[in-house]
Symmetry: C2
Subunit: 250 residues, 2 copies
DNA sequence: CGCTGAATTGACGGCTCTCAATGTCGGTGG
DNA sequence: CCACCGACATTGAGAGCCGTCAATTCAGCG
């Protein structure tokens, strides 16, 4: 076991995971290996480099230290479906098949620094519960995405997307009202199941309504309440008839 | 450790998990507890009963022995978003929040028998990798759903849905061409993000095209190739401009 | 300075949602 | 046994959102 002082030093060295209750390396890696792994772990990639690709062996997962990551998969006809974007502090690379093969690819959207957590170096104890918590994050994200896709129109999707980004930046200590979109309009469209033109038009319309200010990749949210309101309202009652039917009480 | 004979006996008692490489109880539960847990585990619920609800404490997950389950969550405006349907052999109840709280509700669609796996009784060893494998299933399912919602039109979604069901029945030893829809049209619509009427119309149109025969809950697939073809083709190039851009090789 | 790719804006058409009516099945009570 | 009823499913007509196609502007870069 490392001394508290040592832990402290390592934790300070990487403040990214504080929102999770401390450095993941200390939580997950065999104590004796922590320092070594953490020092090996820092990988810096330039924009457009793949961290891993679908089909490769999955022998590690990652935490974003700085920069941003796009996770996507390629359909049969050779086109992308974006699965998510990862910001500093986010864990990614956990979605693998039964046989520990990558279910998706991930690529850097800018110069990005990562922590790498090889599966082989994970400590055994309490691993299950920790991993469960982490995978839960991913699944929640998936569910939110599904929810957006299935139940919201273009306005709702864009608003949800921006609100989500704002919250995630906020929880990481950045401004929730002004930030940079590290991904292209196309990426956003892919993520939200919208055409690029629709993304553009919607942003412009939001700007005209005074909800936000947008210039290229720069976004400033002026009326967060209104944004949240748009994000919250669903598009179609389509599945709106899907009310929770409470069956007769026993 | 139980003797091979005992393991064999227990495994035979429950043949559901064979496709997974053997009874999950033997793989996951503390050996000494296996038999006890397995006998306690059998829970039979009548149609319309909740297995658990969103917000409850998540102290166990489940495997469907017989019957079927609908997983859903309720949006702010009190409406459902179906997250998936679970058939015999499927694991569900793994999607929890950080603090081990249910992220979704699940309800029986018919008389259903379940195996219950309390987290407290899980053996420590090799738990991590096993759980990872299992959560991976769930995530893959999520991804497929997202893919459908974001990139397929009504025809594609319905076709994918039916093809998926057929494959899952097939892999469990049932007919892949004729089966019963255990869920209502509304449930299907919720799952696929379509209006009930669209589901109905699409099924009718598929029938008129000779792809399948449908009567109420009974479905018989007549032209599986054509079904798969429809399922495979995407609706909009919307995100179709989302080609995999191969950046310049280094 | 020209080129390339990203982003914006406009016109048009189609898919699917909405609203509404009808048909069908299972259960209930007379 | 039959009429009635409610839930589910089907079918039709109309409208709106969003994708497609196309042109234009703009930023970055060699």
């Amino acid at each position: 076991m490392l001394s508290p002082a040592q832990n402290n030093q390592i934790a300070q060295e990487c403040h990214i995971c504080q929102s999770r209750g401390g450095c993941l390396g200390i939580q997950l890696l065999d104590s004796e290996e922590v320092q070594q792994q953490l020092s090996q772990a820092k990988r810096i990639s330039r924009k457009g480099e793949h961290v891993f690709r679908e089909g490769e062996e999955a022998d590690a997962f990652y935490v974003v230290r700085s920069g941003s990551i796009k996770s996507y998969l390629v359909t049969e006809d050779g086109e992308e479906q974006v699965l998510g974007f990862y910001l500093p502090g986010d864990v990614f690379g956990l979605d693998t098949t039964d046989s520990q093969v990558r279910m998706s690819s991930s690529i850097t959207l800018e110069t990005t620094s990562l922590c790498r957590f090889p599966h082989a170096y994970l400590a055994d104890k309490a691993q299950g519960s920790n991993l469960l918590k982490i995978t839960a994050e991913q699944m929640q994200r998936d569910h939110n995405l599904v929810l957006m896709l299935a139940r919201k129109d273009a306005d709702g999707r864009i608003a949800s997307f921006l609100d989500d980004l704002a919250n995630r930046y906020w929880s990481r200590g950045y401004s929730a009202s002004a930030f940079l979109l590290t991904m292209s309009r196309q990426d956003i469209g892919c993520y939200l199941g919208l055409a690029v033109e629709t993304v553009s038009r919607t942003l412009t319309r939001f700007q005209d309504s005074g909800i936000l200010q947008v210039n290229r990749r720069e976004v400033e949210i002026l009326d967060h309440d209104k944004l949240r309101k748009i994000a919250g309202t669903r598009a179609n009652a389509s599945s709106g008839s899907c009310r929770t039917v409470e069956l007769k009480a026993v």
